[in-house]
Structures are given as structure tokens and as C-alpha cells.
Point group: D2
Chain length 308, copies 4
Amino acid sequence: MSSELRMAHDAFHGVFPYLVSPIDERGRVKDAVLIRLVDNLIDAGVHGLTPLGSTGEFAYLNREQRRRIVEIVVQATQNRVPVVAGVAATTIADAVEQAKMYEALGVSGILGILEAYFPVAEDGVVAYFTAMAKATALPLVLYTNPQFQRSDLTLTAIERLAEVENIRYLKDASSDTGRLLSIINAVGDRIKVFSASAHIPACVMLIGGVGWMAGPACVVPRQSVQLYELCQAHRWDQAMRLQAELWQMNRVFAKYNLAACIKGALELQGYEVGPPLPPQAPLSEVGRVEVGDVLRALGARAVTGMVD
Amino acid sequence: MSSELRMAHDAFHGVFPYLVSPIDERGRVKDAVLIRLVDNLIDAGVHGLTPLGSTGEFAYLNREQRRRIVEIVVQATQNRVPVVAGVAATTIADAVEQAKMYEALGVSGILGILEAYFPVAEDGVVAYFTAMAKATALPLVLYTNPQFQRSDLTLTAIERLAEVENIRYLKDASSDTGRLLSIINAVGDRIKVFSASAHIPACVMLIGGVGWMAGPACVVPRQSVQLYELCQAHRWDQAMRLQAELWQMNRVFAKYNLAACIKGALELQGYEVGPPLPPQAPLSEVGRVEVGDVLRALGARAVTGMVD
Amino acid sequence: MSSELRMAHDAFHGVFPYLVSPIDERGRVKDAVLIRLVDNLIDAGVHGLTPLGSTGEFAYLNREQRRRIVEIVVQATQNRVPVVAGVAATTIADAVEQAKMYEALGVSGILGILEAYFPVAEDGVVAYFTAMAKATALPLVLYTNPQFQRSDLTLTAIERLAEVENIRYLKDASSDTGRLLSIINAVGDRIKVFSASAHIPACVMLIGGVGWMAGPACVVPRQSVQLYELCQAHRWDQAMRLQAELWQMNRVFAKYNLAACIKGALELQGYEVGPPLPPQAPLSEVGRVEVGDVLRALGARAVTGMVD
Amino acid sequence: MSSELRMAHDAFHGVFPYLVSPIDERGRVKDAVLIRLVDNLIDAGVHGLTPLGSTGEFAYLNREQRRRIVEIVVQATQNRVPVVAGVAATTIADAVEQAKMYEALGVSGILGILEAYFPVAEDGVVAYFTAMAKATALPLVLYTNPQFQRSDLTLTAIERLAEVENIRYLKDASSDTGRLLSIINAVGDRIKVFSASAHIPACVMLIGGVGWMAGPACVVPRQSVQLYELCQAHRWDQAMRLQAELWQMNRVFAKYNLAACIKGALELQGYEVGPPLPPQAPLSEVGRVEVGDVLRALGARAVTGMVD
């Protein structure tokens, strides 16, 4: 990517769907369906793409599968929107290696995730994200998710990390929206905040957020973009009406395994992305019906063959 | 209270400070300071008063202290605003007795809290709140706080309780704002939602809430009322600017024991409410400095002798 | 009690059943069945009695019900074994008052429980138990239960409390047996340790415990005493065979609400103790069958009318 | 290994130290020190060796590092004792591949660990371990650790897995010893139970366990073997005296990151195993002093150059 394009893409904002990772039974990435999903999402107006988030099953893929997913997404995107790839590791060495690999593949930014088996002290957390940031010239999005991670990004750690040049964004997957306002009050001049599907995006926009990175945007991209635009225009009451409707989707997804749900919903929309990797269970029949109902209620693509 | 007044007061909305419970060393309620606090809060424009919430140390008072607190608050209020008293119990028998006693004292509503030692199944939760509601003619506010309670009000339980005639409000003290939107989507036509200090009140107003019940409103009543009015007027951007400033207070309170903090802050404002009941620790010296700084930053009464 | 008797009773050891609290529908203590239970347990050889433990629903009784339970148990016991009554409170003032009241009623010891709504710092925990100990001349048993309490007795707090003259015992209801060995290693010369039903009593005896305080001993008192005697005689292999059988009971009780289970089991044995206080649910039909099966397998009284 | 040897080794029992994974700054396995540790442990009488347990930092090593660790340990052991290698994965595909790889390298058994990002339902848990078991002819040890894992092996799941031919052992790293007795009561005829360092090994032996797999045995191997032999001889009182002393070590290790502690302790004993992989912190100076004190108190190798 040219430095001009990088700059343009650098100011990340708006709707970034978390892409699923379609893998066939023999462990190979299903290129065609992933390319088609990328194309359709960009056509629907999304502002960026995020492979290898939670919904992208980063914790279930091996190194080669991860690499291949990023490679396909970058190639399919053709610089139309920024690609921000997830880097998740337990060691600094692994995180640095992944970040460099994805930079070489042409991504526009890194979404940094710290995995852990033993709890990590704050100094270790800061060392990990600092090393990852310094490994590339790309902007880094800190990912924090108290629910699924064993170490948390405390406000103090975030304040220390905000001093690192290219740590520029934070994506929070807790459900504690007040925590986001505290972060914005403390470091909002240096770190921009993205919502996750556990927050109400319109509320996060109201308090100063710049967008959201979330799985559900894969299946309701147009409505998500519309919501973002209403928020951008400060038409809060109108935004809230759309938001209340879209929230049905967040709730149905919260009931099920995230990856199983988004993959199941995409299957309903005609994308043959397959089930999540075993032993994760595919979306149950009850779940399929419930997801289908919500999709139809929202006017989204909901049956195989439908045109979005 | 006349039935007319009751009706007027019945549509609870706006800012309801959680009153502290000033108790002297011999266990007697300090009438004078409580009466003065009630007067000043009503003068500052609050829309209601809530004795015996978490901040009111309901869990630390005996039966006679609780009764006396409610009696004083009702008398001092003189029907200028509705008084919604907390009823907290582990048994149905105790809850029913308290509710009847407070109704006899003249409160306008009941804030229902379920305490538990062993976990309670959903049927037990529903039976408890239903019995409490049926014990009086007063509107009941369901109180839910996953952090401090051993049983939670699930969405299903709330849907069942919404069928009870006088269960009309819910006050949620989780920090999960999305949960409130789900509740409003499901039963918003029957149950009105109040925020707690763990949520961003402006966000709860945006999604359809009707106000907040919270300890911090004791010390910044005028600013809280101003925020409520901006939200009511749908002036969301202006509301948000004030909200971001006020949030400093919520965060400083979240750092310390709630009752110790509000009592400490009120002492700084010249109300001799005393410390929380031992073995709870009073606000530390560091806490006092931090609370004082925030109060001054917000232009609130912050030193003994100041006039609000 | 004479000072001689008090001394004799003072060296608490062995099996202390947690007595249930039989309350009728109008809230009155059912004297007759409680007296009969006390008599039968003493005849079965138990070494002490503990009213107002968890199984005794201390958290569900009002002040007068608690007082009456202790009064009846003391009178029925007639100094045949020591009575150690539970004192549970959130404030120091309430704890001190209860302890004095039970001392006046003639108990031989106090089981001290700290309830809390807000977390309590270590200094507060130490102040609470110290004040309770100093309020009477009776030996105090510290009760610690990380599962149901909001504050924990850390090893440091226990070491500080071991300095108080009449804090002489500890009863631990965690399931972490290693924690008990750490406590014994640290303060075993001053504090004697009782097991709860969440530990394997024979293991606690092996590591240096002096007995157990637990609900199940109400329904299998003879077998519990036999197990204690085998442990006392250091016949560990024989003890373990009996222990493995008795453990079926602990597991079935762990599946259900403790009070509901013991009350349900006692009903099966012909004691009309009634259900736990609402909204706690009585033992389910499935639970009754399972408890009955275990009682029969253990050769315990298991049907109405059987003689133990 | 010949089928005769495999059979002999198959009846796993006794003390299995969890080996650390010594990795240099460039990510290479430090062969020499690992070989020396293996030799010394076998000379000290341990009954087996377990590479790639928690203490072995399985969650921090890449595929090649894991493979190399197992290869070295198998070669150094030369069939003197069984080697049971840890297989940890989030997907069935990865678990099966690792198990086959280690079987090909000559291990005697597999220690199966399920990692997860999203919670896994019981059917998924059973499918995972069943697939792993069927992938090789080796005996499988189920590893369960509620503290660090997102899915738990419930008693029901264990009962289902006990039906699989070569699932023969279970190693439990919870601290709930009663849970082990329930497991032994339910499936003790098919599944043999190993303790972890979170339990008191002598207690687990008393209730029917066959040994323990734990990090501390790396640094006090002779004392651990002596404890095992006393238990085997049913000399419980003598065993308990040694156990109480050795427990100091378990407690000091529980205070710190497991891998950091065992690596730090081994460094004190003259093994240059290095620090844990960053961002894990090495054992602090305070920790080194405390560990050194305990080692000396136990008469273990405690300073560089000492002969064990």
C-alpha cells in the first residue's frame, strides 16, 4: 500500500465486521466464499474489515490457516477499505512474528490480543503490547475483553500504552459502557474507541466512540452502516430507533457461541462458510430458527439465494 | 396521602438520590441532618427520594433504625416529591411486613430488593416480588444488582413479574447497559427503567430510561437535575458534555465503598452524617482528597460551611 | 453452667450437627420437634450441637426466632454436650448484642459469622471478630465460607485473630482442604480446626482437625460418631471405608439447598420440621427420592416411624 | 518401546514431576539442562515424567518447541520410567495431530488438556477427549483444572469418558478434594486418579489416589518419593508428618506463577533452565528468597553447586 493510502486508511472509523474464518473438513481455507463475503460487505458500505477476531475463531486456527485468511482478505479487498488483522498470542515472540507477517501481507492495522494461561501482571501486559506495536509501523488497536481473557487492560495500563506512538485505538468487548467513558475521559485525545457487540453501538457513539468492530455486522452490513451514519449526523433519536431494532440481533448472538451464530446466519444468507471448528458445536436448529426470524425482521438477507 | 397526590407521584421519573442513613455512635438516627439533607435536595429540584437503598446501608440497619429513617424522610418531605423506600429481606414474610409498615408510614412506592444466602430459583424470585407487590397498593420498583446479590433477575423473571399490576418500574445496578435495552425491548410498555450509578445515565435516557436512582445525586443534585432536563429535551450532545464531566464522580465513587464515599462527600459539604456503620471503614484520607477535588471540579458544595 | 462444666465443655471436638430451625407457617419455632431432635442426637453420641449455622437458616430468621431457637436448644441439652450458637451480623453492634444474649441464655461457645453487603477490608474483618470475642467470656469459633460470604478470612487475618485470647477454633466451609493444612501449619498451636460438609472429614482429621460441624450429621449421627472414633483411634484405612460410604450423603446434599435437604431428610426420618422459609423451595420430589435412597444405603433412619 | 515394556509402564502410579521447558532467548530448547534434570529425577526415584503440563508452559510454546521437548525427554529417559506428554489444543484436529506425533516419538501415555476460548458444551468435551483417545493406542490421562480452563470436566462427562477403552487416568488440579472422592466413588474401577499440587497428596492417597503429577516434585523429588512410599505402606501418621512439612512448598508455589517458581527454584539448585517465556515475569527477588528458605528447610538442593 502506498504511504498515501495508508494514511487515508489510517484514520479508522465506522463499521468493521469481524470476518468469519471458513475452513473445510480437511482444514483448508475456503477461498471463494470468503472472497465473496468480502466483496459484498465492501459493496454494502462497511468502513473496514477485521479478520481473526473472536468471531474469526483466532483461537482455533493454526499458524498457516491464520496466515492464509489474512492473505485472502487483503487480496480481495484491494485497498478499498482498511484491513485490520487480529494478532493473538501468549508470548511476545509469537505476537511480534505474527504482526510482522501480516504487515508483510499488506494489512492496514493490527488488532492486538493478549492470550494467557497464567495471569499476567500489568508490567507484562504493557511489555506485550508495546513490543507488538514496535514490531511494525502499523497503527495498533488494543483489544480488551474481560469475559474471555485472563488478564485485563486496566485503565492504568491503557494510560501507559497510550504513550506508545502507534497505539491509537482500543476495542472493548466488555459490556461495561461506563468503562469506555472513563477511558475516553482519560486518554481520549490519543486513543480512539471502538465498540463491540456487547455494547449498544449508538451509546458508544454518543459518548465519543468512532465505530464498532463486531461479528453481527457481517450479516446486517447495510443496516449497520445506516446506524453509523445517523450517529455521525448526530440524529440520535432516529439512530436510537434503528438501534433498538438491531439490538435483537446482538441479543440472539449473545445467546449462542459467537462463531457458530455468525457462521449459521451467513449460511442462512447463502454463504457456505461451514460450521465452527470442532469440538465447537454448529448453530442448533432452534438457534437457526431464531436467527432466521431476527434476520427477516430486520429486512436482511435471510434465505439461500436471496439477493442482498 | 390523597389518592390524587398518589397518582401524581405515581409516575416516577427523574433524579432520585439514594439517601444515606446517618446513625450516631449509640445507634440512633440523626434526625436533624437527615431532615436538612432532604430539604436541600428537594430545593435543588430532585424528583424523588429513596431511603434504604445500597447507599442507605439497608443491609447494616436493624428493623427499628430502618423504620425510623423512613418515618423521618416521609415527614420531612411533606409530599413535595415521592418517597420510594427500600424493602430488603431474605424471606417473603419479612418483605411483606416491611412493605406494609412503610405504606402505613406514607411512602409513595417500594423499591424491592431480594437478599439471599443460598441461591434462589426463578420461581422463588417471582414468588418473592409478587408477594411483596400484593402486600400493598403501592407501585413497586424491582431492584436488580448482579454484583452484590446472590440471585439475579433474569429477563424471563422480569417478563413474568411485569404481569403483576403494580410492578411498574425496574432499577438496574449492573454495569451492562445492553441488558437494559433488552429489558426495554421486551417489557418496556409495562415496566419503566431507572438507571443506577454504574450506568451512564445519559445513555440509559437515550435508550428509553425514565431517570436514575443513585447515591452520587445526593452530592451533585443540581447538576444531576440539569442533566436530566437536557436528556428530557433530547439535547443529547449538550447532555453528553455535562455527562462526561459528572462521570468523574461516578468513577471516584466506584473506587470506594459506596456508603463511605457518599457519607464522606456529604461531610465535606457540611452535613454531619457520620461514618458508615462499623466494621465498614470510613472514607480514607486519600479518598477524601480525591472526592473533594471532584466536587470542586464540578462546582458542587465542597467545603464545610459553603452554601450550595 | 458452672465454671467446671464450662471448662469441660470448652475443649470442643468431635461431631457437632448443625441443627435445623423448625418454624411453623405463622413464624413460631416448633419447640417439640426441636427438643426431640436434640435428645436423639445426644443419645446417638454427638459431641456438641450448633444451632444457627447455615443449615439452621440463620440468614432467614428474625431476632426473636433466633433467640428462641437458642433458648430451646440450651434448655433441651441440659449441659449434656456443649451448645455453640451461630452469631451472624453485618455490624459490630449487632454481633456484640447477639453474642451477649446467647451467653446469657447459657451457650458454651459462639460460632462467629461475618455477613456483608459491601466487601470488608482485612482490618474491618479483624475488628469485627475481635469485638465479638471480647463481648463474652466464651470461646469463639471463626466461621469461614468463601462460597457464600462476601469477605474472606485470609490466612493473615486468621493469624491476627489467633492472638485474641478466646478465639480458639475455626470452622472452614470452603472445599479447599489444602487451605486447612496451611492454617494448621501457621496457627495450629492456638486455633483448632473443624471441618464442614464440603471437606472429607476423615482427611481433615488426618491433617490435624478436631472434628466437624455439619448439617448431614443431623441425619446420620451414629455413623458420624463412628467415623470420628475410627479417626481418633488412627485406624485410617477402616475410617476411609466408612467415609467413602458416608460421602454419598455429602454429595447429595451439595446438589440441593442445604436447609431444604436436611429438613427434607429429617421429615423422611419422622421429624416434622417443615420446609425451609419461603421463598426457599422445599426439597423436590426427585430430591426426596435420592435422599431416601442414600439414607437407606447408609442404614440410617429413613422412613416415618422407624426407630433409629 | 516393546509391548512388554509398555504394559509395565502402563500401570502409571507414584510421583510424576511436571518438567519445566527450558528455552533460550532465541527460542531454542536448552537440551543439556533438560537431559540433566531428567537423569537426576530418575535417579531420585520418581515413577514417571510429564513434559508439557502447566508447569511446562504448554500454553506458551509453539508446535516445534513442544515436539522438541518431548523428543529430548523420551530420548533421555531411555524407557527407565514412563513419559506422559501433555497434549493441549482448542480443536480436535490439532489434538489428534499432537497425540499421534508424540506417540511416534515414543511416549508411554498422553495427558489430555482441553483449551477453549468460547465455552464448550459437554458433548463437545466428550467428543474432544474421545477423539484424542482413539487417535493412539496409548493410555490417556484426563486433565481437569477448573481454575485455568474455560470448560470443566463434570462428573457426568467423566462417567461418559470412562467408557472409552484407553481413557484410564484422571489428574485433577482443582483444590476440591471431595470432588476426587466423588469421582472415585463413581468410576474408580475404571479411572485411576492422580493428585495435583493444589491437593494434599497424602489425602488423595488416603481416599484411593495412585500418585500425583505436579511441578514441585521437580525440586524435592526424593522427599516426594519418600512420601509416596509411606502412603503406599499405609503408614498414614508418619506420612502426614512429612506431608505437613512438604506442604510449605506447595503453598509458596501457589503464591507465584507456577512456571516462574519451579524455574526459579531449579535455578537455585544449579539447573540453568532460564526464566519463563515473556511476558511472564521471572521469579521476583522476594520470591527467590522465600523459595530458597523453604528448600533449605526441607533439606533439598538449594544452592548452586550442591549435590542432591
